[in-house]
Symmetry: none
Subunit: 236 residues, 2 copies
DNA sequence: ACAGCATTGAGGGAAATCCCTCATTGCGGA
DNA sequence: TCCGCAATGAGGGATTTCCCTCAATGCTGT
């Protein structure tokens, strides 16, 4: 009865106090479908890299028994790039030809090799992360996919809640100068124009904008405009 | 067994060919939890107002037997504004004091009056819509919320797939493609990333953005974000 | 048939942004 | 008093955006 179990797990994950409990929940549930490799990472589209922060990596991802570190995983798995282009979970399969690994996105993985389910996680600002599940003999049926998506997303939310609680203190307010400068940018001024208007050097304006981006947790100034408008840091 | 039914419904909704089937699925499932009023609307990157397009309104939303039309519903239900500020489904309750309706967001609705569950739907660009369920004697337990969220979002996806298939007329000066690209920029993507995501060349994205700037009469893309948000060409 | 416009793509070069780091000043709180 | 932080500025280099132009589709409406 994966459905009942899934809903119970989601409820439990919402109030989980313990990272190991979150891992155990996903490990156990996904395990019953044949998945034994796990990756959870934040991707918020807010960083230069696709992956902003790795929450959890576990399992024999590359078939050679090596324990993966974050960088390795990212570099060697192009599936993680594909995540920014989709709107729904997708299956992938890895086939090894000679010494080369070939990853493909497929409707239903079958046959030899490592297969997986990649689950994007969305939020108010767009892509926020992903849950990646893998294994060699996986259940790739629609019910499995649906249940795993439900539980995987709940696990992601729980993991983020627990791990980003202390790690980040993101929602600092913008300083007055920062709001002022961002408002000018929103009004269509270039950095050099703002510098002239405010009697600053272009460098200073640039530095302020970088600080603004970091504070708002966004990748580009254009996105900073949108986020700041939503947060009411600047006027619409 | 709400869990099994939910997963089966989601699978069915993914391939539904028929709007009435989608409605029947949600009506039946939510009905078993005491919900008998339904609203599905898109809120995404394309139109004026918080609500871009209403997919479905059904039920006695205002207790006086009147059939609601879209505008009325939007104007009279402030809960729909609140949707832009949350990251997760929430319950609300409506109490009537004299001739005045008071809406409140609550952890668990109880007592007299109309209660409801508001389910935001997120995608790569952020908030994409919402599913609103209401009733007078509703099940507001966590399992019910989780199952309804799962099915509600699947119903939303199905409804959008079926209804947005045969096009809609752009109300603004920006073309559909232009709004789409600008939305991605507002979500923090670079031109090259957008090109990859949409399968275009970087040149094309760049050309679209120049055209957008010219059309909106702005100098920079950052300003275009603000103007487009204000004009409701893209989502906040 | 033909004009208009959306969509796509490009060359070539100028300008702007963005990244890292480091440093100084001045202010308010522990 | 000293730490932290807002505010300012810079060096130096890597990317990205932006500007002009031109052109080929394909669809729509007159």
């Amino acid at each position: 009865m994966p459905g009942e179990a899934a809903i119970g797990l989601v409820a439990a994950l919402e109030t989980a106090e313990d990272i190991s409990a979150v891992k155990a929940a996903l490990r156990g549930f996904a395990g019953s479908f044949g998945y034994d490799r796990f990756v959870l990472f934040a991707a918020s589209a807010a960083r230069d890299e696709v992956i902003a922060r790795i929450y959890w990596v576990e399992g024999n991802w590359f078939g050679d028994g090596t324990v993966v570190d974050a960088e390795t995983y990212i570099r060697r798995c192009p599936v993680n790039r594909h995540i920014v282009e989709v709107q729904a979970p997708f299956f992938w399969t890895k086939t090894t030809r000679g010494s080369e690994d070939l990853y493909r996105v497929v409707p239903t993985p079958r046959g030899q090799g490592v297969h997986g389910l990649q689950i994007p996680v969305f939020g108010p600002l767009g892509l926020e992360g992903a849950v990646s599940l893998g294994g060699e003999r996986i259940d790739a049926s629609p019910p499995a996919r649906i249940a795993l998506t439900l539980v995987g997303r709940a696990a992601f939310a729980a993991m983020r809640r627990l791990l980003d609680a202390q790690a980040e203190a993101p929602v600092t307010d913008l300083s007055g100068r920062e709001r002022e400068i961002l408002s000018w940018v929103a009004a269509g001024r270039r950095q050099s124009e703002i510098a002239a208007a405010l009697g600053l050097s272009g460098r200073t304006v640039e530095n302020h904008l970088r600080r603004i981006r970091r504070r708002l947790g966004v990748a580009t100034t254009a996105q900073a405009i949108r986020v700041a408008i939503r947060r009411r840091d600047i006027a619409t």
